[in-house]
Each structure stands twice: as C-alpha cells, then as structure tokens.
C-alpha cells in the first residue's frame, strides 16, 4: 500500500551535465585551497620543464660564496658561490620525477595485486594478502636504500626503489574497493552475462575504483617525496655540505634540504629556501588530494561559500553539529 511514485531527489531532468560539472568544480574548490595547490603544482612543473633551458649550470665562484639574497642572486649563493635559485630550479625536475615515478610504480603494483586478490578471491586472495602483510612489516627504506646502492644514485632509481617497496597500502585499499564492487549486484550481472575474469577486472572493477586510486596517487606522491628525503638523509655520502658539487644526475632539490646546522646560523637562506619550496610543494599536493576527496564524497556537506551570493538568511536557530 505504499506510494507508487517514489521520487528521487537527485535524478531530475534539470540536472544537466553542465550543472553537474559546475557542482563538481565547486566541490573541488571547497575553500579555494585545492585550486591554489593545483595552480602551484602546475607552476612548479612549468618551471621544472622550462628551467634547465633558461638557466645555466650553477658555476663555482669562490669570491661570491655565501652571499645573502640580492637582486643578482634572489635566493642567495651557496658555499662555493653557486646561485641557489638556479640550483633549486634545476633540481626541481628530478624531485618531481621521484615523486611521480615512485607513486606511479607503487600504485601500479598495488592495483594489480589488489584487483587480482579482489576479483579472483579464494587461494589467490589469501596468498596475495599474506604477501601484502609481509610487505607491510618489512623495513621498506632499508631495502630501497639497498636498491639505490646497487643501481646507482639517480632520480629514476630513487623513485623506482621507493615505488617497489611502498605498494602495500595501495594493494590493501584496491582489494577492499574491488571486493565492495564484487559483492555488488553489478558484478553478478557481469558474470551472468558471461564476462571473463579479465573482462570483469578491466571493464567493471577498474573504472569504478579508478577515482579513488587517483586520490591515492596524489597523496602517494607526497608520501614518496617525504620518504625520499629520509632516504637521502640516511646517507651522508650524497649530502654534501650545502652547495657542494653534486654528483652528476643527482642535482635534486632534496639534496639541498639536508643543509645541517651550519647554514642555519650564518646563512639562513640556504636552509629556508629549499625547505620552503619542498614543504609548499608537498602541502599543495595534500590540498589537491583533499579537493579530489571532497569530489568523491558528494554526501559530505559543503562549507559555506566565502563569497556567498544568496541573500542573508534570518535565522531563528543556527546550524548545529
């Protein structure tokens, strides 16, 4: 005896694609921070790509050592008189490369392991998950450090080594998502329609968990960057006293980070500028990740717009909770 016409709030004819897109953009923007983060990261990528063509390799000039920031050297100069800005600009590309490579490798391995475990189930699931548990409890950075030693120090290898050991979190998350897709009725219909495992994994599971994986990827880039700073700090060989000559292929922003106490007292710019660039980069990534996450949870209520256009409401009682 219940109503025949039970309506749906959300599915209305007036909800066009344009409207949905605008809503998605507003969800992403939330309080403006994700947009700032996105713009900042885009700027860093442009600088990293264009920078090496515009700037020259920082030259050693003993007579210009440890100069404080000036118009000629906006970020000051290092111990041997190299321009710090040039060093940062040229080191940016390798650093971004570490983050993107590491995150891409770990997400790729994690996705394969997680989806295989989730879709096939049974003994494959059990074996892969025990393997993931094992990967969770190994000292990841020691193995990454060893891989770097064997393969040689470069941005590619650092990213590769960290990616190879940090896939466990992604695998566990992908398996959980794949299981939730598998237990839904959509999967039953796919099996009834005669879809093979491979077809189900690539056409049903992957598209549904792809959005979550993109969010995970953004956070993973930040995580890989943090781990690579720790990896590089574990090894004094590649951390020359600030501004020292770097081995070829290792001119990373991250190398400038571990400046040590000496530069903090006398030559503060050598400490704060690289650290500032690094931290702002990571925080911008976290903001983008937060914005994407808000995009994925449409149920989450949005905070009030900063520049609200609707009329001020006369309220008898404010919002609670």
């Amino acid at each position: 005896m219940s109503f025949a016409a039970i309506s749906d709030w959300h599915q209305r004819a007036s909800h066009g694609r344009k409207r949905r897109r605008r809503l998605a953009w507003r969800r992403f923007c939330r309080n403006g921070l994700p947009v700032i983060g996105l713009a900042y990261i885009a700027l860093l990528f442009i600088v990293a790509i264009v920078g090496p063509f515009v700037t020259r390799q920082p030259t050693v000039n003993i007579f210009q050592a440890n100069l404080s920031p000036s118009w000629a050297h906006p970020f000051g100069t290092g111990q041997y008189g190299q321009d710090l800005l040039t060093q940062i600009v040229r080191g940016l590309g390798g650093t971004l490369l570490i983050g993107v490579t590491g995150a891409a490798i770990s997400v790729a391995i994690g996705l394969i392991v997680g989806i295989a475990a989730g879709v096939f189930g049974g003994i494959i699931d059990a074996v892969l998950m025990r393997f993931t548990d094992f990967a969770f409890s190994i000292p990841t950075l020691i193995i990454a450090l060893f891989i770097v030693v064997v393969t040689g120090f470069s941005a590619w290898n650092v990213g590769l080594s960290i990616g190879l050991v940090t896939w466990a979190g992604c695998a566990r998350m992908a398996r959980g998502l794949a299981l939730s897709v598998r237990n839904g009725t959509l999967m039953d219909s796919a099996i009834l329609a005669g879809g093979s495992r491979w077809y189900i994994a690539t056409r049903y599971v992957l598209p549904q968990i792809a959005s979550n994986m993109i969010v995970f990827f953004v956070f993973q880039v930040a995580s890989v960057l943090f781990q690579s700073t720790t990896l590089i700090a574990l090894d004094p060989q590649y951390v020359p006293l600030t501004g020292g000559q770097l081995p070829p292929g290792s001119n990373l922003l991250l190398n400038l980070l571990n400046g040590g106490g000496g530069s903090y007292i006398g030559y503060r710019w050598l400490f704060w500028f690289p650290l500032g660039v690094y931290c702002s980069m990571v925080i911008a990534l976290l903001w983008i990740g937060d914005g994407l996450q808000a995009l994925l949870n449409p149920q989450q209520p949005l905070p009030r717009r900063w520049f609200a256009t609707w009329p001020r409401l006369r309220t008898a009682r404010g919002a609670r909770g």
Binding site: F134, F136, S137, I138, P139, T140, L141, I142, I143, L145, F146, V148, V149, V150, A168, G169, A222, F226, Q227, T229, T230, A233, L234, D235, P236, Q237, Y238, L257, N258, G259, G260, G261, Y264, I265, F271, L275, Y278, C279, V282, I283, L286, Q299, Q300, P303, G321
Partner: protein, 305 residues
C-alpha cells in the same frame, strides 16, 4: 564476554606465531640481496697482489647472520657487544614509543577539536600547522628544534649523546612532529565522518551533550579509523627515529648499525650479513609495533575479526 576474549587471544596468538617466520624470511632476503651487491663480491680484489677469494656460499652467510643475531655479538672492528646491542635497542624504543605517545596526546585532541569546529579559524590553523609539521623532513626538523628551543629560547640545554632526561626531549619532539601530522589528519577526517553517521543523531536525541557524544560515541570509531592508518606508518616512524639519532648523536640502533650507503657498498664483514641483521632488527621493531596496533584495534572495535 568469553567468546570475544577467546577470539582476540586467538587472533593475537596467530600474529605472534607468524613473526618468527617473517623474520626468517627477512634474514634470507637480506642475504640474497647482499649477493646482488657488486661491491660485496669484489671485496678481496681491492688488495693488489692477492687473488680474489672465492665468495662464501649462500648458506654460509645465512648461517653467519643467524649466529650473529642469536648471540647478539656483531661486528669485527670495534666490538659491538651484547650490552651495546641491548642498550641501543632500549634507547631506540624509548624514542619511538615516547614520540608515539607524545604525538597521540597532542595530535588526537587537536584532530578532534578541528573536526568539531569546522568554522573556528584557530582550530583550523592548529590542524593545518600540525599537518605542515608532519611534512618537514626530520633532519631539518631536528635543526629547527635545536635552534629554536635550545639556542634561541634556552629552554632545553643543548647536549649531544644520551644520558639525562633532557637529552631525550628534542629527539622525541623531532619524531613526534612527523607522527603528529598524520595523527591530526586521520583523527580529523575520521571524526568528521563519524559525526555524520545517524547513530550520533540518535545519541543526541537521547539527550547527550556534545562532550558526552564525543567521549562515549564518536571517539572509539574515530580512533579505530586512525589505527588502520597507523600500521603502514610504523616503518616511517622508525626511520625518523634513525634520522633523529643521527642528528643528535644518540647511540641507538640506527647509529649502531651505521645505516648508510657505505655499510652496504663497502661491506664491514660481508654485506649480506650486515644487511640481514639490519633487516632483522628493524623488522622486529615494526612487527612488534604492528602487533600492539592490532591489539589496540581488537580491543577498541567489537566488530573486528
């Protein structure tokens, strides 16, 4: 509830039983990796006039590392004695657990308040600052802390090494800064999520105030959410401890094992053995931490199996 208790004991027993097996795998893995190291196989040919010695067979280096771990008697140069090993383990665990404790005490309340007051700029700023702290590399964090607290404000006497309580404050703060970052982040997001759920509205309809709702209803689900994120972070916590030990010249396990490229590149006494001892010690640490997290999770969550 005898059923629940029995289940928890069984699960934890299984986890403990798996640990030795995983540690054996780690030792073998360490030795296998050691064989991949070109520096380890060409060690003897560095001395001119002597022909290169045959590399020891694989089982031999596994045996060496097992004996070294079993007797806690490592190293050939400056003797790493049993007392030294135990002492450095003790120091490192004080640093690790101390930092986890400090960051939980500071970070969880900050996360809760930031989640409960989404429009309060003060708490939002505190939460954002904590997340920023978590992203500063620990080597730089150590420098900042030294120059702020000991040399700037003269609050903590500057001292290197280990001995008094004051020596532990800054290293613990260094590691805690990393932990606070994700603790605040995950507590905040977990709390936000829990406060949206309908049982919170039901609890409020029964006349519970905000403090009671948070303490009795929301805190446990939010903390279980945090704990699931805490497990994958334990290795990083440990490596931050190692960096803090290096920065403050503290004789912990990181310093004792001398973790750096030269250890593996130019082996002290067979790189496979060194590597597997390092993996063993760190693996043991991580597994014990994860075990504690699992116990806390089972204790907090009646739905866990």
């Amino acid at each position: 509830m005898p059923g629940k208790r029995y289940r928890i004991i069984r699960v934890i027993g299984l986890r403990i039983a798996v640990i030795p097996m995983l540690l054996c795998i780690l030792i073998i893995l360490g030795n296998a990796l050691g064989y991949l190291n070109p520096a380890a196989t060409s060690q003897s040919s560095a001395i001119p006039g002597l022909s290169a010695a045959k590399p020891a067979p694989f089982w031999h280096s596994v045996y060496t590392s097992l004996v070294a771990i079993g007797t806690l008697h490592w190293g050939t140069g400056p003797q790493i004695t049993r007392e030294l090993v135990l002492r450095s383990l003790e120091i490192s665990s004080i640093l690790t657990f101390g930092s986890l404790f400090v960051s939980a005490v500071v970070g969880i309340p900050c996360g809760i308040f930031a989640a409960l007051k989404p429009r309060n700029p003060l708490w939002q700023a505190v939460s954002a600052f904590c997340v920023l702290l978590g992203q500063v590399p620990p080597a730089d964090m150590a420098v900042i802390l030294i120059f702020t607290f000991s040399l700037g404000w003269h609050l903590i006497p500057l001292s290197y090494g280990w001995g008094s309580v004051a020596d532990a404050i800054l290293p613990i703060m260094t590691v805690a800064c990393f932990n606070i970052g994700y603790m605040v982040k995950y507590t905040e997001s977990g709390m936000r999520e829990v406060m949206q759920r309908s049982f919170i509205a039901a609890a409020r309809a029964r006349g519970a105030g905000t403090a009671s709702v948070v303490a009795h209803h929301a805190l446990r689900p939010a903390l279980t959410g945090l704990l699931t994120f805490l497990g994958p972070q334990t290795p990083m916590t440990l490596f931050c401890t190692v960096i803090a030990e290096q920065a403050f010249a503290i004789p912990g396990i990181g310093t004792m094992l001398g973790i750096k490229v030269t250890t593996y590149g130019a082996p002290a006494f067979g790189s496979g053995t060194t590597l597997s001892i390092t993996l063993f010690i760190f693996g043991l640490f991580i597994m014990v931490l994860n075990l504690l997290i699992d116990i806390a999770y089972l204790w907090l969550n009646p739905l866990a199996d």
